[in-house]
């Protein structure tokens, strides 16, 4: 509770510290505009045109529906892999044999490109929700799993011994030792899995769904509608930036303030 309050209290300062990032984003926009002047509107529409297309998109109900659908698929897939990955990772880390055995399996899972999973999922589940979510789950699962595995493998005997020497109860040990330690491994892995999920959900939709932002991107491509395609990409990046910098970064700053 105290932590949540502190995150909210520090939020304005956090925003104020963002000027540097905003400046670099504007620098990026400047290069983009230069590209537009060199190659013309069809190849690379100007940022201004893309932003105005984006604004029109946001006034259309079916775009909003598609965006929400994509977000829903992403969150559901991510949620499933977060739950299963965390639980399995923690359990596997607890047993030495299980953690040694799971290593090569994780390498195999990471090694298979998501695009291959999409093909398989299309064969197994056909077009639609299930294929998209399956791909998201399978692609982000190893990231969460490895984070949880490392967290539970690195639980320190020394600190536990220290707590035992003070006859500290099991619940307090969970609260003050196990949870903070595991969380410090889990949280970064959740963040990178979320980023991964968002990219995968769009790719999967592009290839294997009739709706969602990915599908809209496919339609824009077939119409050679570069401004719409770029507007969609900008929206996707915007969502990611919003989640990462406005929601996750302040939390991360607060919960990891004890780190070097």
């Amino acid at each position: 509770m105290k932590t949540i309050f502190k995150i909210i209290k520090d939020f304005p300062w956090f925003l104020w510290s963002g000027w540097g990032s905003i400046a670099s984003i504007f620098l990026f926009l400047a290069f983009w505009d230069m590209g537009n002047q060199l190659y013309g509107d069809l190849i690379l529409p100007s940022p201004k045109e893309v932003i105005s297309t984006m604004i029109t998109l946001f006034t259309q109900q079916d775009f909003i529906d598609n965006l929400l659908l994509t977000i829903k698929r992403g969150i559901m897939g991510f949620g499933v892999s977060l739950t299963i990955g965390t639980m399995m990772g923690l359990i596997a880390g607890y047993f030495t044999t299980a953690s040694i055995m799971s290593r090569p399996i994780v390498t195999i899972l990471v090694g298979i490109p998501p695009i291959a999973w999409i093909v398989l999922a299309m064969i197994w589940f056909g077009f639609g929700d299930m294929t998209v979510m399956f791909t998201v789950i399978i692609a982000s699962f190893p990231i969460v799993f490895v984070g949880a595995l490392q967290g539970s493998r690195t639980l320190e005997g020394d600190l536990k011994e220290m707590m035992d020497s003070f006859h500290i109860s099991f619940w307090q040990k969970c609260k003050d030792l196990y949870f903070p330690h595991l969380f410090s491994y889990l949280f970064p892995s959740w963040v990178s899995a979320l980023g991964m999920s968002w990219k995968i959900v769009i790719m999967a939709e592009l290839l294997s769904a009739n709706d969602g932002i990915g599908a809209s991107l496919a339609i824009a491509r077939s119409h050679l509608d570069t401004p719409t395609a770029l507007a969609l990409v900008t929206t996707m990046v915007g969502v990611l930036l919003f989640v990462e910098y406005i929601i996750l970064e302040p939390i991360k700053k607060e919960v990891e303030s004890w780190r070097d």
Binding site: M162, M163, W258, D260
Partner: protein, 245 residues
């Protein structure tokens, strides 16, 4: 009478014998120092006494109601501030406010400053960490205190300062202390009895009683006594001290 009684204690790691036939007792208010070379099983003995390892052969009877352990490496929780670390042993037994006030009081006593209270261990120097370690061990006002070479990595000034804190709280609360060190001078300065533990396997080969009361041991006394120790055949043999030719 509260006491710690160790008798006929043997201990093995696998097939290697670490401790062999250890016998001693520690009474209320007494300070016992265990000296011996590194790797001689001193830490194992201390952990056995503190019930952090299970006794397999022999007996350890501990009738003190409370004990605390200060480790050589401070073992602070990295995600907790100085004050939260100090109040760790008592926070579940007392109200947060009360535990917090107690922690502040003892932190100040151990030479920590108000501005350090909200720092995390990563921002502390080695000496400060050790102060926090001591404050955390003593916040429970333990009847028996185990110290595992806690002064070994400190500079001379800080070493003496912390030794004095320990001595004064022993006097104030009549705390018994069992501590290990490889520093003979340190042992002579603060203990009532010194046990000499040889290694491979760990065995107490001699017990020295230091008669001079702790308050009256000046530097001269400590130096003379240390010199006396260094001339002792058993000490020379145990530490494998080579004569200067």
């Amino acid at each position: 009478m509260e006491r710690l009684e160790v008798s006929e204690l043997n201990f093995y790691f696998g097939f290697t014998q670490i401790l062999n036939n250890i016998n001693f007792e520690l009474n209320r208010g007494e300070v016992i120092g265990i000296v011996g070379p590194s790797g001689g099983g001193k830490t194992t003995l201390l952990k056995l006494c503190a019930n952090l390892l299970d006794v397999t052969e022999g007996t350890i009877k501990n009738s003190f109601d409370s004990s605390a352990f200060a480790f050589q490496d401070a073992r602070l929780l990295p995600w907790k501030t100085v004050i939260e670390n100090i109040m760790l042993p008592i926070v579940s037994q007392e109200s947060y406010k009360k535990a917090y006030n107690k922690a502040c009081e003892i932190a100040l006593r151990f030479g920590l400053e108000q501005k350090d209270f909200i720092k995390y261990p990563k921002d502390l120097s080695g000496g400060m960490r050790q102060r926090v370690n001591f404050a955390r061990a003593l916040i429970t006002k333990p009847k028996l205190l185990f110290l595992d070479e806690p002064f070994s990595a400190l500079d001379i000034g800080l070493k003496r300062e912390l030794q004095d804190y320990v001595l004064s709280s022993c006097k104030e609360f009549n705390t018994s202390v069992l501590f290990i060190t490889h520093d003979l001078m340190e042992a002579i300065r603060i203990s009532d009895k010194v046990l000499l533990l040889k290694s491979d396997p760990g065995e107490i080969i001699k017990t020295y009683t230091i008669d001079q009361p702790k308050g009256q041991r000046d530097d001269k006394y400590i130096f003379t006594k240390t010199q006396e120790f260094l001339n002792d055949y058993d000490v020379i043999k145990t530490f494998e001290i080579k004569a200067i030719s």
